[in-house]
Amino acid sequence: MAKKLGFLVNIERCIGCHACEISCKSFYQLEPNMRRRRVTELPEELVGTPVRAFVSTACNHCDEPACKKACPVGAYTKREDGIVVHDQNMCIGCQMCGKACPYGVPQFNPVKKKMDKCSMCYDRLDVGQLPICVEKCPLEAIQIVDYNEVEPSNSVSVVPTFADPSITHPTTHFILPKPGKQTRRF
């Protein structure tokens, strides 16, 4: 059976530090404002008690990628393992994919005049290495999972700020934090 690789983002462990995002930016030497992975603040009352919570997302390597459908030159392919790959050599920079993606993942690189997005570091995966964000998260809060093998029962496929998964069937899943006890003055 083919694989269905996706990110599993553990919000309970995530400290919202952005090291995933910046290590990715550093490794790929991206332009300063390019963000292949981004960390977004979640509503404070996510789990009932008010906390600082963040979610880290990149390309969701969807089952039905809208970017692929929208691309007029066929620059997008979906690998057998589920990774959605964007070929910058074919890209004409029309930005249709960026508009089509419900998650706003493909970004325009103003220097190369091409679109750019997370590749799940497939070249690293292919030689037995982990994606940079997975390897470099100080809290080990991001993993790669083959969702055809196991769908973690403690994970969810949507969090606030994340678009309706029924549109493109993203593979990313999330582990929500458990609320702690709080004694607050206000």
Partner: protein, 733 residues
């Protein structure tokens, strides 16, 4: 939604075996991590890797692995051989390639015509040295000593070789020095009175703790690598309690969060102690064998402290105090980490003494995984060779003169006979980081010459006469240790210095050469030398034995990082305290000598003045260490302006909505900035994070007075600043 029947740990374990299915099982063993796929594709490129050390004023002081392709850095990450860094850097460390190649680097020595005018002209190093050397000699002639020259240097770079700046100033004669620290002084005095010196357990021992209290510490933002060990401990069943006035990022991860009124933490500790004594939960044997003054302290607590008082004072309900006290006293070992922020109050030192006492009566001191952990200096036993040369013969004056770094502007202005006429600033940004920056600016106005060595055009450089461009860690050699973990990290030169930048050591040698050219014998600092030879001179036999290394070069060849001998990683394991009695001192005569109560008593907190009823705290921010990092465009792309956090209840009283521009004001100053409405702060407090945002012409210190902490003189020479006892009013702008 969340399925409670499968714990996250179970799942993570499951997914590790899954990685075999993914063909990832060999990750990290089959192929080395780092840049290999990219580098391999580039067959003509020369790929090298170097060890570096993050030298910033940070608990984590990481060991770094730097990849260089064709002379250019292409990736900077953590060194896997260091079990604390674990091959990963914090968000700030991940920006290092941009720190090096930032378009904002200062490239050449420059002279400014008109301080603050922005009218800079490029000059050569020779011209810069000549201007500075002539001014030094002129001052020496006019005043008969070099005391009018003031050095303000601190923690921007803790590479041991950077003490060359202090050494160079000592080598011209006696000078005036900014003394003390804005960091840890009150707490370090407190631990000094109690135990002789501040000394913390290895943070990797969080894994050995049964119970962890993070008391005013926010490692999620200030020590991400410690947070990993804390999260791992939680996974293994350790309870994490966070006590803090703010719902910090770390408080958000706690099993239990307790919101204490700011500056009453000592009352909470004393309330817990009362409960522990009343219920016979203390460690009688430990106290009898290892402490003095316990009876006096016990009597003080019985007479003066009640649970009702503690609850009233701290805002923490009595049943919560009782329960936490019982849990803490019965967990073995229980670990307390006291954050530096907790002691930045007028009663900060006394509060740390109370928390120390809590750890002592429960016998948690001297235990692996336990402790009352604050800061430590056990691994800093270098030679400090760069500071060993002394004043030249015939120097005027008898010794250096000190001004308090924490009230720098006022004390420079007050210095007389002789007045201060020249400043050398390195590894520091006083016009942004000091309280009362306007007073600091006035002190600058009195100077004939202000020289600043820095990487970027920050607020202090903008108000200097001469700027000397310095190297990043990747362009010079060095060695670093931490005040928290127990590793020593080598810093190799990975690339040639960019532009005309020089290290502080090279600057010291260059200036000495010029001084000796103009007036032979006027500076004792060596005029030349190989930095590799300088760094080897820092290691003595004791430190080599402690870390099991033969030399700096030996460590460079063997992984770039070494951990200290286990014998020192459990603080006070031998229970031989460095106090006058050799015991833990609940009753400290030394404290009394310094004008404090000899016992760990509660001293009153600073009260809000009527006109300025709102506390404004300025804790550390996740994208910066003081004024470093946040200004880089990689981080500005995430957060491009400062903001102030306001509780919705408080915001409502002023009709302030999220995103509104608000004015915060007190008798010291004011600023306007966007509001962020959030329940993460209490309704009597606003929070503005510390940092330098590029293009922003104010800092959190605009409203901060040079209000002294209660302690600091014993260990640091000067008291610290009660940064968090800052009171303001706010209004919609």
């Amino acid at each position: 939604m969340l399925n409670e029947t499968i714990s996250r740990r179970t799942f993570i374990k499951g997914s590790v075996s899954l990685s075999a299915l993914l063909g990832l099982g060999a990750a990290g063993t089959q192929a080395p991590k780092g840049l290999i796929p990219k580098a391999a594709a580039k067959t003509n490129g020369k790929v090298e890797q170097f060890y570096n050390a993050c030298p910033r004023n940070c608990y984590d002081t990481c060991s770094i692995l730097t990849t260089v392709e064709d002379g250019r850095i292409t990736f900077i990450t953590g060194n896997e051989k260091n079990t604390y860094t674990k091959g990963r850097l914090c968000v700030k460390g991940n920006t290092y390639p941009r720190v090096v190649y930032s378009p904002d680097r200062i490239k050449y020595p420059m002279r400014q015509k008109g301080r603050g005018s922005g009218n800079w002209e490029r000059i050569s190093w020779d011209e810069a040295y000549t201007i500075i050397a002539k001014k030094i000699l002129e001052i020496k002639k006019e005043y008969g000593s070099t005391l009018p020259i003031c050095l303000n240097k601190y923690s921007g770079n803790f590479n041991i070789l950077n003490y060359a700046t202090e050494g160079m100033l000592s080598s011209i004669g006696y000078t005036t020095r900014a003394q003390g620290t804005p960091c840890d002084p009150a707490g370090s005095d407190a631990q000094g009175f109690d135990m002789g010196v501040a000394y913390n357990n290895d943070p990797e021992q969080f894994l050995d703790a049964d119970y962890i209290i993070l008391w005013g510490a926010n490692p999620s933002w200030t020590s991400a690598h410690s947070m990993y060990f804390i999260e791992e401990a939680k996974e293994n069943g350790t309870k994490l309690v966070v006590i803090d006035p703010l719902i910090t990022q770390t408080a958000s991860k706690a099993d239990e969060y307790i919101q204490v009124k700011a500056s009453t933490d000592g009352a909470l500790a004393l309330g817990m102690i009362r409960y522990i004594l009343d219920n016979q939960l203390y460690d009688k044997e430990w106290v009898n064998q290892n402490s003095i003054g316990f009876n006096e302290f016990f009597a003080y607590v019985k007479k003066n402290i009640t649970l009702d008082w503690a609850a009233e004072k701290t805002g923490v309900p009595k049943p919560v105090i009782e329960r936490i006290a019982r849990e803490y006293a019965t967990a073995k070992p229980a670990n307390i980490w006291i954050g530096f922020g907790m002691q930045r109050h007028v009663n900060g030192g006394a509060m740390v003494r109370a928390i120390d006492a809590l750890a002592a009566i429960t016998g948690n001191i001297g235990k692996k995984g336990g402790g009352v952990n604050y800061i430590g200096g056990e691994t800093w036993g270098f030679n400090y060779h760069t500071m060993s040369f002394g004043a030249p013969e015939g120097s005027g004056g008898e010794e250096d003169r000190f001004v308090n770094m924490n009230n720098f502007g006022a004390q420079v202005l007050a210095a007389n006979e002789p007045p201060i006429k020249m400043m050398w600033i390195a590894c520091r940004n006083p016009l942004a980081q000091d309280p009362e920056p306007t007073v600091v600016k006035k002190a600058f106005d009195q100077m004939d010459l202000v020289v600043t060595a820095d990487l970027y055009m920050n607020q202090t450089v903008e108000y200097s006469d001469i700027v000397l461009p310095v190297t990043t860690p990747f362009e010079s050699v060095g060695i670093n240790v931490s005040y928290w973990h127990y590793w020593m990290n080598v810093n190799e030169q990975a690339i040639k210095p960019l532009y005309e930048t020089k290290s502080d050591l090279e600057i010291a040698m260059g200036l000495s050469k010029k001084l000796n050219q103009i007036e032979p014998g006027s500076c004792t600092f060596p005029v030349s030398g190989d930095p590799l030879e300088w760094v080897e001179k820092e290691l003595n036999n004791d430190i080599k034995a402690l870390f099991g290394v033969k030399s700096w070069d030996d460590l460079r060849k063997n992984g770039g990082t070494a951990k200290a001998n286990e014998s020192i990683t459990v603080a006070w394991n031998d229970l031989k305290f460095r106090t006058p009695s050799g015991k833990y001192e609940f009753y400290s005569k030394k404290a009394a000598q310094y004008g404090h109560h000899p016992l760990p008593v509660f001293t009153e907190e600073y009260k809000a003045p009527k006109e300025y009823p709102i506390r404004c705290m300025s804790p550390h921010w996740k994208f910066g260490i003081h004024s470093q990092f946040q200004h880089q465009d990689w981080l500005m792309a995430i957060q491009d302006h400062p903001f102030i956090e306001i509780h919705p209840d408080l915001a409502k009283t002023r009709s302030i909505k999220d995103g509104d521009i608000v004015k915060i004001i007190n008798e010291t100053g004011y600023m306007t900035l966007p509001a962020k409405i959030t329940k993460m702060v209490p309704a009597d407090t606003v929070v503005m994070y510390e940092g330098w945002w590029k293009g922003v012409n104010y800092t959190e210190n605009f409203t901060v007075k040079a209000l002294a902490e209660d302690m600091g003189e014993y260990k640091k020479g000067q008291r610290g600043i009660a940064f968090h006892d800052n009171f303001v009013n706010i209004e919609k702008a």
